[in-house]
């Protein structure tokens, strides 16, 4: 076998070197002999004239035997490995397929019947399936159902809400891989119709809640880059609104535990004072800068945008009072 030399970008060299391991090894002489023997037997069977092949009845009998064996094997497989085996072995059953509800149902059964200790791991593996399904749908240029996106977001949110129930190192590793894959989905298909931002932020929030450092993953995602205004400028009022708009469909997250360097993008519902650094005090009411687009008139708060209109109303009221006095 020739060596197919080819040049690759420098940053892929390590990956290539690792993939080269797939070309290691040769079959043992016994295995070679065995495979050659099977190949010759099959070739001889195919070359036989039709009349010399197994009679039809025998073929049917063999077919039945095969079916029974297959059925028994499937039952054994399910008993031994649970529904996970079927579900995980069927990555090509995608949303929209008639078998898809059955696949999801099997997953739910598997999860429900699993011992408590194994549930987090199982849930993460099921989530891997959802991500693969999304990847395959995108690759086939098929629409990604909203439910699939919701499922992913809901799961990550639940991790973020109950970090104590997750085995940290395992979950962190798994979540980091999923974040990486989600990022690559977006990188590979710029301008894809489905927005992964919500999933991304939810998964990053989950990662964050378990003590992971998303920045260390170097994902180059604009939504995951903490904005300096959110953490270090106590006098800048727009931080709260700017942060809130980063999440298209905000999901309620638990009250965040204080961290030395909070990543503001994961905390969409925090009040502005939450972004103040430790020790800083918020500005007093009177010093709150006026929004130039919606100024509040100090004497006419009911007409914030048209103080002259308020003045007219006041004059009209005074005239009405005078008329009443005249009467």
């Amino acid at each position: 076998m020739k060596n197919a030399n080819q040049t690759y970008p420098r940053d892929l060299e390590n990956t290539i070197a690792q993939l080269e391991l797939l070309r290691y090894g040769t079959l043992s002489p016994e295995a070679r002999q065995r495979i050659w023997g099977k190949a010759m037997d099959r070739a001889a069977a195919v070359s036989q004239p039709r009349a010399q092949r197994a009679p039809l009845l025998r073929s049917i009998f063999n077919f039945k035997a095969f079916t029974l064996q297959s059925f028994a094997a499937v039952i054994a497989f399910v008993l031994v490995f649970g529904a996970a085996g079927i579900s995980l072995a069927t990555p090509s059953i995608l949303p929209g397929s008639t078998l898809y509800p059955a696949k999801r149902s099997l997953e739910s059964t598997w999860l429900a019947l699993a011992p408590e200790a194994q549930k987090p791991e199982i849930q993460l593996r099921i989530l891997d399936q959802r991500i693969r399904e999304m990847d395959q749908l995108l690759e086939a240029q098929r629409p990604v159902p909203e439910e699939l996106i919701q499922d992913l977001e809901t799961f990550y949110t639940s991790v973020a809400q109950t970090p104590e129930t997750w085995d940290e190192p395992e979950t962190l590793q798994h979540l980091a891989q999923q974040l990486t894959v989600l990022q690559s989905l977006e990188d590979e298909r710029p301008g894809i119709e489905v927005s992964l931002t919500g999933i991304f932020l939810a998964s990053a929030a989950a990662y964050d809640s378990l003590g992971g450092d998303v920045a260390a993953l170097h994902l180059d995602n604009a939504f995951l880059t903490p904005t300096p205004t959110a953490t270090s400028t106590p006098t800048s009022t727009p931080t709260a609104t700017a942060t809130a708009t980063l999440i298209p469909t905000p999901t309620p997250l638990p009250t965040p535990t204080p961290r030395p360097a909070p990543t503001a993008v994961f905390l969409p519902t925090l009040p502005p004072s939450s972004f103040l650094p430790e020790g800083a005090t918020p500005l007093p009411e009177s010093e709150v800068p006026v929004d130039p687009e919606h100024p509040v008139h100090p004497e006419h708060p009911e007409h914030p945008e048209h103080p002259e209109q308020a003045q007219n109303d006041k004059e009209k009221d005074d005239k009405d009072k005078d008329k009443d006095k005249d009467k």
Binding site: K2, V46, V181
Partner: protein, 189 residues
């Protein structure tokens, strides 16, 4: 003896020439089947089926722009698809490293074993097409042109698929390394 000469002899039904072709390509075909099915015995059976097809149909092979290697892997690809269709098995995401398979693949260096398992786990994150291209490229040793001929796609399409797959693997593997390092650091503390 050139491959062209051996091919010509094999087409005439010479068993020795067929044997030489088999010896030359059996490892690559087996590796392809193993990494695609994830199962040692299935890979062995499918490899035998591929060579049975070669033996019975090599008379009809003519190098009309498709080299023998691409023709061989077209057969392998077709057998694989057939296997999934017939047996109702879907593609496996995971590769089973049974004892026989470990003996087949891995050098004695534990570092290689670790990296081999690591790359297999990372490959679980690839789509079916991406894995096909990666396996043809790295396990079977085909170049982009031959992969394109095998899968009947354009070279550019193969190149872009391969790049996408490599980039995905790089990200997964890079992160795993970083994580392992941080874990090792924690243990030291």
């Amino acid at each position: 003896m050139s491959e062209q000469f051996i091919l010509e002899k094999a087409r005439q039904g010479e068993r020795e020439a067929l044997g030489r072709l088999y010896e030359h390509y059996v490892d690559a075909v087996y590796r392809y089947m193993f990494y695609r099915t994830g199962h040692h015995e299935t890979a062995e059976d499918l490899t035998a089926e591929v060579f049975a097809s070669v033996i019975t149909s090599i008379k009809s092979y003519e190098d009309l722009g498709v080299p023998f290697e691409a023709w061989l892997f077209r057969i392998a690809h077709a057998r694989l698809v057939d296997h999934w269709r017939k047996s109702k098995h879907r593609e496996q995401q995971e590769v089973e490293l049974s004892q026989e398979a470990e003996e087949f693949f891995i050098s004695d260096a534990p570092e290689d074993q670790f990296r081999h398992e690591e790359v297999l786990r990372a490959m679980e994150y690839l789509t079916s097409t991406e894995r096909e291209v990666v396996v043809l490229r790295f396990a079977a040793g085909l170049d982009n042109q031959e992969i394109a001929q095998t899968l009947q796609r354009s070279s550019n399409a193969v190149k872009s698929m391969l790049h996408r797959a490599l980039e995905k693997l790089r990200r997964v593997l890079a992160h795993r390394s970083a994580f392992d390092k941080s874990e090792a650091g924690n243990e030291k503390r």
